[in-house]
Every structure is written in structure tokens, then in C-alpha cells.
């Protein structure tokens, strides 16, 4: 059994570094060159100081499971369930969270506070940042 293709984000100026950074193994988050803070979702300006001096920065790619749900409802035909949807807080990137999947472990092994690291899944030119347990 194989899963249906993941919904594909439409690439735009702001989001391309995020969705394609995985080609170089990079988890890119938009950072302000002036105030040093991060803006996510990515915008063409810094949401903290309104500076236009923003650029994608490769962050550590590690983080913590801030919360999660085990999803049992197949939202698409042939979608394999259950799977874990998590809200991951990124190390070194205060205030930024990613909704993602925790993969490569049984769903019952995922817990609050788990240390996780990014692992990219490529599909049709998009590098989906999924996470797996760090230990």
C-alpha cells in the first residue's frame, strides 16, 4: 500500500526557500538581518521590526514536540492511518512552530517534549520537512 501524494505547496517568492531548502539539507526560516528575529510563515518583511532586510537562514533543524495528535481519520483515499501530526518548536528559533509529521517510529512512541530532528521527504521538487525522534 502506498500513500497518495502529499498536497503540494504553490511556490512563491516568500515560501520557496522553505519548501526547497531540503535539497541542500537545509531547513530555511526567514530571518531579519536587522533585528535578528524570525518570521514564520515567511513574509517579504520582518514581522517584528518591519525591515525588508530579510533572508532565509538554515536553522539547526532540531526541535521539541510541543504538542501532537494521533490522526486516525483518512482525509484522502488510501491515506495510511494512524499517523502523528505534531507542532514542533524549533531549537534556536524562538516563537516559530512547524506543523509537521513525526515519522520513523510507532505512533505510540511520540510524546510531549520529545527531541526531534528534521528529515526531508522529497516529492515533485518539494522537500517536506518531517521530523523523527532525535534519540
Amino acid at each position: 500500500m502506498s500513500n497518495p501524494p502529499r498536497p503540494k505547496p504553490r511556490l512563491e517568492q516568500e515560501n520557496t526557500p522553505f519548501w526547497t531548502g531540503g535539497a541542500e539539507g537545509k531547513l530555511n526560516i526567514t530571518k531579519c538581518g536587522d533585528c535578528g528575529q524570525y518570521t514564520h510563515p515567511p513574509r517579504v518583511l520582518c514581522r517584528h521590526c518591519l525591515s525588508e532586510n530579510v533572508a532565509p537562514e538554515a536553522v539547526a533543524g532540531t526541535g521539541v514536540v510541543e504538542t501532537f495528535t494521533i490522526n486516525y481519520q483518512p482525509w484522502a483515499k488510501d491515506l495510511e492511518v494512524p499517523y502523528v501530526i505534531a507542532r514542533v518548536s524549533l531549537d534556536g528559533v524562538p516563537g516559530v512552530f512547524l506543523t509537521t509529521n513525526i515519522v520513523n517510529c510507532p505512533v505510540e512512541d511520540v510524546n510531549f517534549g520529545d527531541a526531534v530532528r528534521v528529515t526531508f521527504e522529497e516529492q515533485d521538487g518539494i522537500f517536506y520537512p518531517l521530523f523523527e525522534k532525535a534519540n
Binding site: R6, P7, K8, P9, R10, E12, N15, H40, P41, E66, T67, F68, T69, I70, N71, Y72, Q73, W75, A76, L79, Y83, I85, A86, R87, G95, V96, F97, L98, T99, T100, N101, F112, I126, Y128, L130
Partner: protein, 389 residues
């Protein structure tokens, strides 16, 4: 001339069903007629039309009728109208109407919400034409690619954390669905949605959707139209009904996101509702809280200050406090879990019904004077404080 106050003067609702054959425009007409009769108004006295979210062309099932459709079809001479998604949740359409009558732009405004999400599935080419897009963009690009497809998944994450941080249990959460089902059994308009009362055992053994939410924690696609007529304070001599004052309203949000926030907008909106009124939570006789997912009323209970943050699970434990004869009767018509996904407007409809003492079998005891109606989840939040004063 500007009027200081805005009142709800008429409420109406079509049949509520699942896969109703009746055209959504006709469902809307049914609700309009009932609301006009209720207010003692005629269509030629209506001079404004407000709705949420306006017609949604790619997904007509979600919102098949626009304000402009209604104006043109019914021949309304509108001095202002609006249908928009970018406002603070469903009930904000009523809030906008209140602003219009306070400003003196309109005297009597039809606010409506028509849904055809069940019926629309029988004709996807018309009602769901834009659902299959080659790519996702906007906010959904941050969730859909990870198969966090439904708001159920987004709400579930916050519900799950609430349980982890504060110890809310599934047994406690069950009370929202159980209360909704119990009340829906006393609501004639909920017959098609709740046919038998949900039991605790059935709830606990139901299939899971997205933990901790099970099937009965999620509302069900329905077909219906709900109309609320908002009138200017200086036009009350034209109505023949018991008006209910919109004593306060709020729709605050500081971050428009489902996953970059610590808490849902219900918390900020809940606090702000009390900044425009002398009423407090102690004055509230009944609460009608958006329950598209069972966790959302918890956020409203806490956000509005009926209990401390984190205490929502304990507040509803056992269900007696939120029952029809409890200290804060909640979702007395069954809410959306029990009475169908009317998408926000049902809560205002029921608040007015209770304040007028017209709840029939489900009428709360005493002489209720103040009610809160809310809508929304995540970054969407609108709250109305309604008073018979």
C-alpha cells in the same frame, strides 16, 4: 441619524437537515420569512444584508448564497451590505450589522448564514467545484502537506496539550457532546441531526478522529439557513417583538494563525468582550458557545473568564453545571454537535430564544436576562453579549 444601540429583533431558521432536497436559496427564504414574522417586519422595511463568509464560489456547499444574491432575489433595497470571510468569525456579520445600524446607515438588517454542506455532496460538480486544486497556498500550505487536512487536526493539537498541561480528561470533555445530545433531544429543529441520546459508553468507544477528538467531538455537515434581524434602537417602534440588546461584542485577534499561537483568539476576544459593558460573567444566564469541535467551548469558558485558564475540564466535569438546570446552561439547543453545523449563527438564534423564554422543553428556568453567544476557533473568534434590559 445615528442610534446608540443595536438590537436583535427577529430570528428565523429553516428546516435543519442532512441532504435536504430544498434549494439553499429557498432554505434562506424560509429563514427570512420566519425572522420577518418574528420581528413583525416586512421585506420592504429591510435596508441591509450582512452575511459570513459571503458566497464561496469554489465550495458553494460551504456558503451557497451571497448577500448580493439575496438582495437581488428578494428585491431588497439595501443601503449597505457585506459578505466576507476576513472578519472575526461567523457572528461578526451580526457585529457589522450592529455597527451599520448604530451609524444610522441602516434601520433593519438581515444577517444570515446558509449552509449546504451535506446536500452539496450530492452534486459536487456544482457545490464543490473548486475543491481539487493542483497546489495548496495561503495558510493551508502549512498544514495540508502534512495531512493535517481538517480543522479537527488543528484543534486536536491544542486539546491534546490542554490535557497534557492541565489534566483535562476525555471523560470531562465528553460532557460537551453529551450535553449537546441531551439538549438536542428537546429541540424539534434538531430531529434530523440527533435521533437518539448519546450515552457515555457510546462516546468513550467511538472511533477516534484525531486524538483526543472522537467522532462525537466533531460537528456534522448540515443543510440549513439561520437569519438574525438587527435593528436600530430608534427603529424599535416599528417592530412587534421582544427586542434583545447587543450589549457588547468583541472579535480580537493578534496573530492570524492556527499553529504559531499559544492560545486561540477566544482568550483575547473573551477578555475584550467585558471591556465594553458593565455586565460580568456573574450576570450571564446562559452560554451558547461554538462547538464545531468539543474542545472549543472549553476555550470560550476559560477565555471569557467563567473559569481560570486550564480549569475548563473541571468546570464541565459531570455535566451538571452546564445542564439546562445548571448554573451556566450551555448550548441549550444542542449546539452544533447536537443540532447541526449551522456555522455560528445557531448560537445567536438560541441565545435570543432563551432570553425570550421561548425554548419550550429546553427553556432554562427563571427569567434569563443575559446571554453570551460565540463563534469560531483558532484565530477566528467573535463574541456577542445579548441582554434583555
Amino acid at each position: 441619524m445615528a442610534s446608540k444601540e443595536a438590537y436583535i429583533t427577529g430570528i428565523g431558521q429553516s428546516e435543519v437537515g442532512v441532504r435536504l432536497p430544498r434549494h439553499p436559496m429557498l432554505l434562506t427564504l424560509d429563514a427570512v420569512r420566519e425572522a420577518l414574522d418574528d420581528a413583525g417586519l416586512t421585506l420592504d422595511q429591510i435596508d441591509g444584508v450582512f452575511t459570513f463568509p459571503g458566497k464561496s464560489p469554489g465550495y458553494l456547499a460551504f456558503s451557497p448564497i451571497g448577500a448580493d444574491d439575496l438582495i437581488d432575489t428578494l428585491g431588497i433595497d439595501a443601503k449597505w451590505h457585506m459578505g466576507a470571510m476576513e472578519q472575526p468569525a461567523q457572528l461578526s456579520a451580526i457585529g457589522m450589522a450592529a455597527m451599520a445600524v448604530k451609524q444610522g446607515l441602516c434601520r433593519h438588517v438581515i444577517c444570515f448564514r446558509t449552509v449546504y454542506e451535506a446536500g452539496g455532496m450530492t452534486n459536487p460538480e456544482v457545490y464543490m467545484s473548486g475543491m481539487k486544486q493542483p497546489t495548496v497556498s495561503g495558510a493551508s500550505q502549512w498544514t495540508s502537506p502534512f495531512w493535517a487536512t481538517s480543522a479537527a487536526c488543528w484543534v486536536a493539537q491544542y486539546a491534546s496539550r490542554h490535557m497534557h498541561e492541565y489534566g483535562m480528561t476525555r471523560e470531562q470533555l465528553a460532557q460537551i457532546a453529551l450535553n449537546g445530545s441531551r439538549n438536542a433531544m428537546k429541540n424539534p429543529r434538531a430531529r434530523a441531526i440527533t435521533k437518539e441520546e448519546l450515552t457515555f459508553d457510546k462516546y468513550m468507544s467511538a472511533r477516534l478522529i484525531s486524538t483526543p477528538l472522537c467522532l462525537y467531538d466533531c460537528d456534522r455537515f448540515s443543510d440549513a439557513s439561520t437569519v438574525i434581524i438587527v435593528s436600530a434602537g430608534d427603529a424599535l417602534d416599528e417592530v412587534k417583538c421582544e427586542p434583545v440588546r447587543i450589549a457588547s461584542m468583541a472579535g480580537s485577534v493578534d496573530r492570524y494563525s492556527w499553529d504559531q499561537v499559544d492560545w486561540f483568539a477566544a482568550y483575547e476576544t473573551g477578555q475584550d468582550l467585558w471591556k465594553h459593558t458593565d455586565y460580568t460573567t456573574a450576570d450571564v444566564d446562559t452560554a451558547q458557545f461554538y462547538d464545531g469541535f468539543a474542545f472549543l467551548p472549553i476555550t470560550w469558558l476559560e477565555g471569557l473568564g467563567f473559569c481560570e485558564k486550564g480549569e475548563g475540564g473541571k468546570f464541565i466535569e459531570g455535566g451538571s453545571r452546564i445542564a439546562i438546570d445548571g448554573e451556566l446552561p450551555l448550548n441549550t439547543n444542542g449546539g452544533q454537535l447536537g443540532a447541526g453545523r449551522l456555522h455560528g449563527f445557531g448560537f445567536a438564534h438560541e441565545a435570543v430564544t432563551q432570553l425570550r423564554g421561548l425554548g419550550g422543553e429546553r427553556q432554562i428556568p427563571g427569567d434569563p436576562k443575559v446571554a453570551v453567544a460565540t463563534s469560531g476557533g483558532g484565530p477566528m473568534a467573535a463574541a456577542l453579549l445579548l441582554a434583555k434590559d
